[in-house]
């Protein structure tokens, strides 16, 4: 579904991701893990078109997306839930969700999407007319994911959703993502929490200082010496 070949990208002509190749297949839940500053967010921003690659190719559903503007990429079916939630704080929960559906034209379809995400996140329905900035951190994360789902994506990319959440909430949000993935949506997850992210993933990639250094099923990676040493202090 998503194929990335030899991607190099960075800021102001300084590369921070080097020659990365990976893929996500239809229906999979794939995790890219790595520590602070490894380049995970940079990769997601490139996939969604906020950054332009220095070199390499990105192909989504058979179409090259690496030169497309970000708003076109959304229309191709990629939704990006950004790091730090980035909800529109001064706007209501409902407005945030409607913004997520910006690329949809059909009002019935939008109403249908809204109902679906409210079914997944009933708490958001209760807070429909509240300003997003008044939600708790966990609720904001749910809003960010719900907003991503509104565009009817084929691929949902979630950046560091555990950031700033209590462990119990992390489990809840992860559970919800797993459920969304079970229902058939393809998910690309980026996380510092290596153990959790690999446990729930079908496959994973390990990113170290901008380079992919290991790949495999979640289980394989968890059992590899490299991951155990570098990320689990064993």
């Amino acid at each position: 579904m998503l194929k990335v070949k030899n991607l190099s990208v960075g800021y102001d002509n300084v590369p921070v991701v080097f020659d990365a190749s990976f893929e996500v297949k239809e229906g999979e839940l794939v995790s890219i893990v790595g520590s602070n500053g490894a380049g995970k967010t940079t990769i997601l921003k490139t996939l969604s078109g906020l950054l332009k690659p220095f070199s390499g190719q990105i192909e989504f559903l058979g179409r090259r997306t690496d030169r497309m503007p970000a708003h076109e990429i959304v229309k191709c079916g990629i939704a990006h839930v950004p790091e730090g939630r980035r909800v529109f704080g001064k706007m209501t929960v409902l407005d945030n969700l409607l913004l997520g559906a910006h690329t949809l034209e059909n009002q019935d379809e939008i109403a249908g999407r809204l109902k679906e995400v409210y079914d997944i996140f009933p708490r958001l329905k209760e807070r429909e007319f509240q300003k997003a900035e008044t939600l708790s951190g966990g609720e904001q994360q749910m809003l960010a994911i719900a907003r991503g789902l509104m565009s009817k994506p084929r691929l949902l990319m979630v950046d560091e959703m555990s950031l700033g959440l209590m462990p119990i909430l992390v489990d809840r949000v992860m559970e919800i993502l797993k459920e969304i993935s079970r229902q058939g949506l393809t998910v690309l997850l980026v996380e510092q929490k290596v153990q959790e992210a690999l446990e729930m993933a079908d496959r994973g990639y390990v990113l170290q200082t901008g380079r992919i250094v290991a790949e495999g099923t979640g289980k394989e990676l968890l059992e590899s010496d490299m991951v155990k040493k570098a990320y689990m202090g064993m």
Partner: protein, 284 residues
């Protein structure tokens, strides 16, 4: 007499507010100060004047034409000039709009001479409304009403329509707006267009009672800067209240100290307010 002064101050305030809303909108959405704002106002006034002189059109017939024309001019200003400089560092965008304002002003002098011109007859010319002790010129009344209507329309558009929602989102967080599938380039161009339509309407209304000349926009854009700063940069409601305050200050100042000092009073109030609230009355 005092009531009279207050009433005419408030009425002008609504017109100033509309000019300021155009300015504050661009600032709020894209952090740019459009120094050519006053010159767009001036073009609108000339549009009404020439349609009146050459085609015998009433200013209220020309108003939608002027509004549309300035919408298009402002839209194209974004597409042709601002777009190229918006992400440039430092003062580039500021200098670009400043250059544009000088260019338009000089072009107007070249084409139409520096003479003062007047639109002497219109639907509302020379008519007055009497309400108890207060006598209001119909042109000023019509200008205030027209400005209020346009203000409400702009407010409604931003708050309630899909495009308005996209404008708000882009103003709050450009990158995340892009992730929603919003074409932020288009949003910027439309924002410039709406800003232009605001001064287009204001200019057409003002042409019914103010002289038209190449510098005629400059003073009002200066007032608009004060109003925007007073109300809080980027804040539409702030611009509305700021406009009324400045309209009042101008009228009361002129009444108390003589018309030659009215702007001294305006700037004094501005200086006082920003001492207490540096980000303006409604700034956050």
């Amino acid at each position: 007499m005092l009531l009279q002064v207050i009433a005419s101050g408030v009425l002008m305030g609504f017109v100033y507010a509309l000019v300021a809303i155009g300015l504050t909108l661009i600032w709020g959405v894209m952090d740019i100060i459009n120094f050519a704002h006053g010159e767009f106002l001036m073009i609108s006034m000339y549009t009404v004047f020439w349609m009146y002189t050459l085609l015998k059109f009433d200013p209220f017939v020309s108003l939608p034409v002027a509004a549309l024309l300035i919408f298009v001019i402002s839209y194209l200003t974004y597409k042709i000039i601002i777009k190229r400089v918006i992400d440039a560092p430092g003062l580039t965008a500021l200098l670009a709009t400043f250059g544009l304002s000088l260019f338009i002003r000089n072009l107007a002098q070249f084409l139409w001479s520096p003479d003062y011109r007047f639109v002497t007859t219109s639907l509302v010319a020379d008519k007055k409304i009497t309400m108890g002790p207060v006598i209001i010129g119909l042109p000023q009344m019509a200008a205030a009403m027209g400005s209020i209507i346009m203000t409400v329309l702009v407010f409604y558009f931003i708050q309630k329509t899909k495009t308005g929602r996209a404008i708000q989102a882009t103003a709050l967080d450009r990158d995340t707006a892009k992730l929603m599938g919003i074409d932020t380039e288009k949003v910027y161009a439309i924002t410039f267009g709406i800003s232009g339509a605001c001064v287009g309407v204001a200019g057409a209304l003002m042409a019914t009672f103010f002289p038209v000349y190449p510098e005629s926009g400059a003073l009002y854009s200066l007032l608009a800067f004060v109003i925007v700063a007073l109300g809080g940069f980027g804040n539409i409601k702030g611009a509305l209240y700021g406009g009324i305050i400045i309209g009042l200050a101008e009228a009361l100042g002129g009444f108390a100290f003589g018309t030659q000092f009215k702007y001294a009073v305006v700037f004094l109030i501005y200086l006082l307010v920003i001492q207490v609230r540096p980000k303006g009355l409604f700034g956050w």
